[in-house]
Symmetry: D2
Subunit: 356 residues, 4 copies
Amino acid sequence: MPGNSFGEIFRITTWGESHGKAIGVVIDGCPAGFPLYKEDIQRELDRRKPGQSEVTSPRKESDEVEILSGVFEGKTTGAPISLIVENKDVDSSIYEDLRDLFRPGHADYTYQRKYGIRDYRGGGRSSARETVGRVSAGAVAKKVLGLNNITIIGYTLQIGNIKAEKIDLGEIEKNEVRCPDRNAAEEMIKRILKVKRSGDSIGGIVEVVARGVPPGLGEPVFDKLDGDIGKAMMSIGAVKGIEIGAGFGVASMIGSKNNDEFYNNKGVIATRTNNAGGILGGISTGEEIKIRIAVKPTPSIAKTQGTVNIKGDDSTIVIHGRHDACICHRIIPVAEAMMALVLTDHLLRNRLAKIS
Amino acid sequence: MPGNSFGEIFRITTWGESHGKAIGVVIDGCPAGFPLYKEDIQRELDRRKPGQSEVTSPRKESDEVEILSGVFEGKTTGAPISLIVENKDVDSSIYEDLRDLFRPGHADYTYQRKYGIRDYRGGGRSSARETVGRVSAGAVAKKVLGLNNITIIGYTLQIGNIKAEKIDLGEIEKNEVRCPDRNAAEEMIKRILKVKRSGDSIGGIVEVVARGVPPGLGEPVFDKLDGDIGKAMMSIGAVKGIEIGAGFGVASMIGSKNNDEFYNNKGVIATRTNNAGGILGGISTGEEIKIRIAVKPTPSIAKTQGTVNIKGDDSTIVIHGRHDACICHRIIPVAEAMMALVLTDHLLRNRLAKIS
Amino acid sequence: MPGNSFGEIFRITTWGESHGKAIGVVIDGCPAGFPLYKEDIQRELDRRKPGQSEVTSPRKESDEVEILSGVFEGKTTGAPISLIVENKDVDSSIYEDLRDLFRPGHADYTYQRKYGIRDYRGGGRSSARETVGRVSAGAVAKKVLGLNNITIIGYTLQIGNIKAEKIDLGEIEKNEVRCPDRNAAEEMIKRILKVKRSGDSIGGIVEVVARGVPPGLGEPVFDKLDGDIGKAMMSIGAVKGIEIGAGFGVASMIGSKNNDEFYNNKGVIATRTNNAGGILGGISTGEEIKIRIAVKPTPSIAKTQGTVNIKGDDSTIVIHGRHDACICHRIIPVAEAMMALVLTDHLLRNRLAKIS
Amino acid sequence: MPGNSFGEIFRITTWGESHGKAIGVVIDGCPAGFPLYKEDIQRELDRRKPGQSEVTSPRKESDEVEILSGVFEGKTTGAPISLIVENKDVDSSIYEDLRDLFRPGHADYTYQRKYGIRDYRGGGRSSARETVGRVSAGAVAKKVLGLNNITIIGYTLQIGNIKAEKIDLGEIEKNEVRCPDRNAAEEMIKRILKVKRSGDSIGGIVEVVARGVPPGLGEPVFDKLDGDIGKAMMSIGAVKGIEIGAGFGVASMIGSKNNDEFYNNKGVIATRTNNAGGILGGISTGEEIKIRIAVKPTPSIAKTQGTVNIKGDDSTIVIHGRHDACICHRIIPVAEAMMALVLTDHLLRNRLAKIS
């Protein structure tokens, strides 16, 4: 019940603070009998880590994962899988000045109000570092999905006002912003660097697509597939919006254009369009699941901002340290992980739908 | 665990099909000791019911609620509250033609695939009639919130390309589309009637605002307040997107504009802007919570559409009966109810945050 | 999360008070596609109802169940199944005297302390009448189990100091105390009637056996099959103890006697003894599951008892009305229902254990 | 939902295998703001560890706990508390012979059947070593209870046929079997050593008492306090029965003897007897909560036993290594921990009962 778990059947619980000893996740409900290696997880963690390029923050998180349980002789056993990553390269001293100040756009104030105490070092529990657990667990989920021929891919669709004009999946991992349009990527990087030089940050839009999802995933009426995806995405720190298929575009559409007509595509029931984004009535149709999320500009900026201190006095704040000026490319592995977690959970839940 | 429940502490379970004998909801976890009358619930149900005007469907749902348990001598007892509404004015005959056809944009196909069986009459369990249970339970939640001086209001912001230019809350219940801008409302109604005459339907955007929410509601890291609101809204049948505060607007914003600076407002910590929509790190700040949802055009349209039948053969379908050409005004009580349920749940959960 | 639900996958939520309008249960997570008729449920309810004989209370509960949802054309659809039973023959007047008094052995005092309010009529929510919902849902569970060749049978093993000396299953439904030993049954009935004449009541022991349970049911480490059975049984009002297999007998056993040796029984792995009661490490072995529960004497007795009133003043109480002097035979359908619910839940959960 | 978590609000998830790298627990839902030190937890772990005396197994588990998260500057923060203990002194070689054999009385066979794979080393996940996590989390729960003046104590009541004749709490930690009767303790130890010499083991009964529990804990109707205690205790590996208050003794009692009369004890409502064991209708009365559990003889015995191998062939087994011949004294810290977890969970849940 408490808030650090996600999933009903393939259930993860993340723990750890930004500047604590370690950070990790426990996966309960992972089915027994498939191969799982450290490398499966490390690969995804490496995609998430900062310090990869000029546009990311230079904190060096080596982030080496260790599998502590749930795997025996290279296979999952059905027991909980405990994954842990040590926190290294942690320098809490720069946060000493922030002990009594609330950073705008961060959770400092709300944690303090809720709990009456907070670990102010690096954001503590509210740090994006918590996503190490999500990405680690998501890597295991991706393995399960892979066995079912389901793939997930995310990319940056927009940064500031610069939009990808084409979707070339082969381009994504070739540029630092993970944009599927090479030209747009170049513009985006320029834009980020410019913003960064001015001590500021910038937002964007990320798209995530799942392919190979069979029809039938999702549970009426509250645990709809889109409901759970909505929660999964909105639970990522910087996400302020989520849309599926035609999304907010439906507002100005008429029904006859928005409805996706069914047809028999060589023996498989398909739809001619996919405004629904692969989900009808909360249940997957078999078409591509396509969602977009709105990513806010990093709240940690170098500019002086007004704020209050812990006593409530008006004050100003300057946030030192170097931060990502745009986090779209780093949120992609996290959003993919959350999508993988939702789909794995519903893939398993769907085993329960029929009597036989 | 199964999908027909919502909420962790103030937990509702809805049941019932569109053309079954009755429809209802059980609320478990409602605190003991506050006054609750049938009228509290009936009032909200009346706001939801169709047949109220020219722009709504003419099905007459008298929808009289009955409290079967959990209330004694006018007060809640802490026992589960069972609410039931009989299904009257049900004519299943017009659905007979649809027994073997999948309506585009509806859940017919996905339910059939998932369960191997479906109640095709009026959409069965996937019908919007299921929201009778949500609205009934939401009315009880609103009572709890009212005792805590929290209010919720929803309105239509956009239909097709027509947008409300001003927010005059006093106007909302005075026009048939629940738009806070009288002039826009007139245009919206004209637009709907025109679309309706052409046998089509149209989408829109609804905004929901919660006022008086104290700081501290929301649970890190998955059960963030915005995460749960995201799920709540995306679990409503026609909703294809949700955004909070600046929402998708953050994509083109820079951090120094998007961050909401804190200041001391006569002894209360407040923010000068509210791009966050009242939530930071998943926890309420004390500012207004403001969200928008994208509502798709009603999929039931009079035009001939391509589809397949239950055997997978290509076919066409014409949907008889008269349906709402736009459901924004009817989704408002539902969206308000979902917001009320999330806030009540988190209001109670927040009692658990501190040791004393 | 609140306490009126049971089961993780095959999940029931009961509602209703003894003297309210109706009482019922919602089953969520029932698989789609098997035949379910009102008669399946009514049969079990009839086994539970009072007024069947001289040893039971004469309240006439006709207890006719109605299926309100989740079944279409005689088959389950996967949607929640709502079952309701009207409360008839309700006379609350005799409880008027008890409004301000706490009955010893009942939940009056604890409900009042917990909630600050209670429906004192007939015990309100704490009444054994709540088991109408359990038995109704259990009947559906029994159907699922029947499709899997699993059967459950319960019987009275002991009343006062009188013990069944043999287990003849054919005898059970032939006598009023549901004892599998005809001679013991006669003695038991005499004993009950004698106790009843003295205005008192008496306790007993009930045994429940499940046959045909396949190996593999139960989830380590907390949701062990015996853990869940333990909770299921201890959640029945009058039950003060539960033991499985050799039960408390293990205290005086040595390991070499208590261990059940495995052997190959014509191709099936079996155990030569069954002190484990069919469960090892929380998971079913394939042997009979056998448990016993301790049933306390009905707390409603005609004798004058000391108590306090709602103000805390010392007082005395005499409970009018005619009550069961022994409830073993009436608790049997309830205990069977709870066993059926646990087994159905774990039968479904076990579908999730392996990757394929 | 999966089985490795316990508790609704104060929720623990244990992980780890007997011979894996480490073992641990994550506590989610622990309230913020109370002091918590490693020593609080280490103290309880030390009470649990083997190798303390002649009657325990000589495996040296240094079992040093580390707090990885959730505590900042000596206080809980509301974030999940991750506790970890390295597995040292692990020698898996002696289990090599057991790779293909099912030990009678152990979970080898059932795990293999359920998952198709098992970590056979030291019982893997089904090992009693899993209780390291329970005891660690229980220590945190005890801290919460201590702040509320609730104490828990457990002791050995019976081993074989030797029963404690008196309850002298001061004696408990003075003898190796944790028996509150010094003379009985001596007899018990003799009995255990004799059984041990014969290569066998022996069972017993443990009693656990909670004092200072306020009235009102426990949730109707399924999450009764005794229901949850029942599950908690039955989820401990060797426990085959649980009874509360008069327990199985109620079978031969009459109502007028079993009912506990209320009276005003200097302003506090109390009961003159406590056959209910401190719980009525599933809710605590304010009296002592007293339960007993039946502990089976350790299944690991040195005698030759019949069994089958993984292919199903009849075989024999001899279990090497030195094991506890009786585990009552080692199960005590575990049973106390489980009681502490249940009470802490319900103490918090009870904050939700009333509207104000």
